[in-house]
């Protein structure tokens, strides 16, 4: 659906993007990750044709992107605002028409979305009369009004209250299920794991990592397993002997433990279970995958040896 190819951009002497490439599959949610100042917003502005890249091209459905593609994109920037003196309806109609809808279609879609979010009674309210949470809903409606094929959300959860955040998250998943493609830039790693199918990590203007979320987590796993058991901790440690390192222990109740263990040498999950059987009463055991948060921090701030 969206293909970012060798995009570079600098502002005077400051390099904002350096040869960044990735692909976003149709019908997926793509997370654009990176610390502040990494170049995410610059890249999103380039995709939206707000600024031009120094080098590289953007393709949508294999076509080099031009202004006519803008009607197929919905964009909600990080810093978003509305005209305070316009009514909700006027504002949505105005932005819908700018995105290519006819007056009738725009009006129909405004009614549809206001009904869907159960806020039809706000229609004639001026934006300045709305609370922040109400305005956020209106902003989201204005972004999706023209049913874009590609939805780009820059930090969609920043400033949203938890209720709106849930609403938007559910809406994004519903849109993905309808075959829409969604690109979101975010710091919220929990939401990345919840909604993103794949991600790209940009840091210091370069892309450092991209791919499917599960694949990345699989690649970054460190052979750590968690065992939840009842019994004696000493018996547990003795059973492990030298093949495993205990790296974290939790003791939620008297004789209940959750222990994270890292494999040594040729040890594996099966051998771990084997040595423990009979020694402690195992209640659960699972492989611990690194969280996206850990992966993010690990790449952006590598631990010094």
């Amino acid at each position: 659906m969206l293909s970012v190819e060798n995009i570079s951009k600098s502002f005077l002497r400051k390099q904002a993007l350096d040869d960044v490439s990735f692909k976003v599959e149709k019908g997926s949610v793509f997370g654009l990750l990176g610390p502040n100042g990494a170049g995410k917003t610059t890249l999103i502005r380039i995709i939206n044709q707000i600024i031009e890249p120094d080098a590289g091209i953007i393709r949508i459905n294999n076509d080099i992107v031009t202004r006519k593609h803008l009607a197929t994109i919905g964009y909600m920037p990080e810093e978003r605002g509305l005209y305070k003196t316009m009514t909700v309806e006027e504002h949505a109609l105005f932005l819908g028409r700018l995105r290519g809808l006819s007056k009738q279609d725009a009006s129909k879609m405004v009614n549809y979305w206001l009904d869907k979010f159960e806020i039809s009674n706000w229609k004639k309210k001026r934006i300045e009369e709305l609370s922040k949470g109400m305005a956020q809903k209106v902003q989201f409606i204005c972004t999706v009004l023209h049913e874009p094929e590609l939805l780009i959300l820059d930090e969609p959860y920043s400033g949203f209250d938890p209720i709106n955040m849930e609403l938007v998250k559910n809406e994004l998943i519903a849109m993905r299920n309808k075959g829409k493609t969604i690109v979101l830039s975010t710091h919220n790693m929990k939401s990345v794991e919840e909604v993103c199918d794949s991600v790209a990590l940009i840091h210091n203007s370069k892309k450092l990592l991209d791919g499917n979320v599960a694949t990345i987590q699989g690649e970054k796993k460190a052979g750590i397993y968690a065992i939840k058991f009842r019994g004696n901790m000493i018996a547990f440690v003795n059973a492990l002997w030298t093949g495993y390192d205990v790296i974290e222990t939790e003791n939620p109740s008297d004789n209940l433990f959750v222990v994270k263990v890292k494999m040594r040498n040729d040890s594996n999950f099966e051998s771990l279970l084997r040595v423990l059987l009979g020694q402690v009463q195992i209640e659960a055991a699972w492989e611990v995958l690194p969280s996206m948060q850990d992966i993010f921090i690990d790449i952006v701030q590598p631990k010094t040896a």
Binding site: I50, L70, R80, Y83, F94, L98
Partner: protein, 445 residues
Amino acid sequence: MRNTWIIILREIKERVASRSFVLFSIFGPLIILGLIYLMFKFGGSESEKWNVLITDKAGILDNKLLAHPDANVSYSFANDYIEHTDFAAGKRYQKFDAIVEINEKVLSNKIAYVFYRNKPSFNLQTKVQYQVERRLEEVMIKQFTTLSVEKFREIKQPLKFNFRNVYDPYDQTSDIRTWVGFFFGTIILVFIALFGMTILRSVTSEKSNRIVEVLLASVKPRQLLVGKMTGIGIAAFIQFILWILVIGVGLYLMRAFLFPSIYDPSAMNVVQLTDSGKIMSVQEKLYEGNTFNAIVDLVYERVNFSVMLTFFLLFFIGGYLFYGSFFAAIGSTVGTENDGQQFVLPILLILSLSAYAGYYTVANPESELAFWLHFIPFTSPVVVMVKLTYGYANGEAYQIWLSLIILLLSAIICLSIASKLYKNGILQFGHRLRLKHIFQWLRIK
């Protein structure tokens, strides 16, 4: 183009629906009409009131002077001789501003003394002299001739020696008319300042509430800028039309009910005892109370409104685009609204200097400086308006078009610079604007 039009419509709607627009559309022209009324009432005729005592011991005037009371001068008679020292100090005379001594020799030596407390204006002096003189004339006609007053005056008509400028035989130009030009020029500047500030506020508020990024994902920065300036310009134009309508209707009503035309025989005001208006010359009417009023005459008879309004419109458009580009550039480059206030001061200062340039041209229309100010785009909208009323000599009319072309070309250059700054500055937030930013943003492609 479609999106530019949508932006234009939004801007017009926002401006026209705003309370300040409605108030300014109503009260702006009403204030101007009020000022025009005051100028009509007092500017072209006397506002002074004079209470005059005529001492006429011999009863020559027969205690008569005017058939109808005069708006500015009221006369009382004393058939007694009053020493001017008594008049100066006497309590009973304090209500009088002046005393006119008519003694028995007046018919032969033609001398009358007038003692005043505060020196009256020249017009008032002339008026009193004229009114007393005409009454004396009637007395003398009766006493020394067998002619009727009408006949005598017909014979007495002086030879009118009409001095006329060969290049302007109908006296279409004069100093007082240049003030009309100055007024038009000042209105242009006021509209530019008001709507320029509107551009600035609109750009900075879009920037500060961050709607601009959403808009830029649908329209090009240049489209947004052009749409905004056109929309606000059309709103200004609508306001201007409303002003013309309200002022036009107001002037019409004033003409119909308050200041009738002196050239219209039905409106003539016959004031002398035995005189009839039809044999009076325009010069004579000058002294007929309020009948002739230089400013009324100027507004209704001597201003060519179609020419003035046409060039007003052209120079308004040019001036608005030229100055508007500065306001837009400032709005798009500042980081905070406070910064905007600070950077707009120099522009407002230039607008004030431009108004002064208009005033300078009124005073020195033929000076070399006025010639150059006429072509400089910062000052040309107001200076051209002044020069237009002063008049262009034969063969110099090209100057007005040259000035317009220079203004429009400058506006195009400034707009292209402004749109570049707008494009590169509009998404920069929260900084303190420095000149180096402007140079940097001009360099970014």
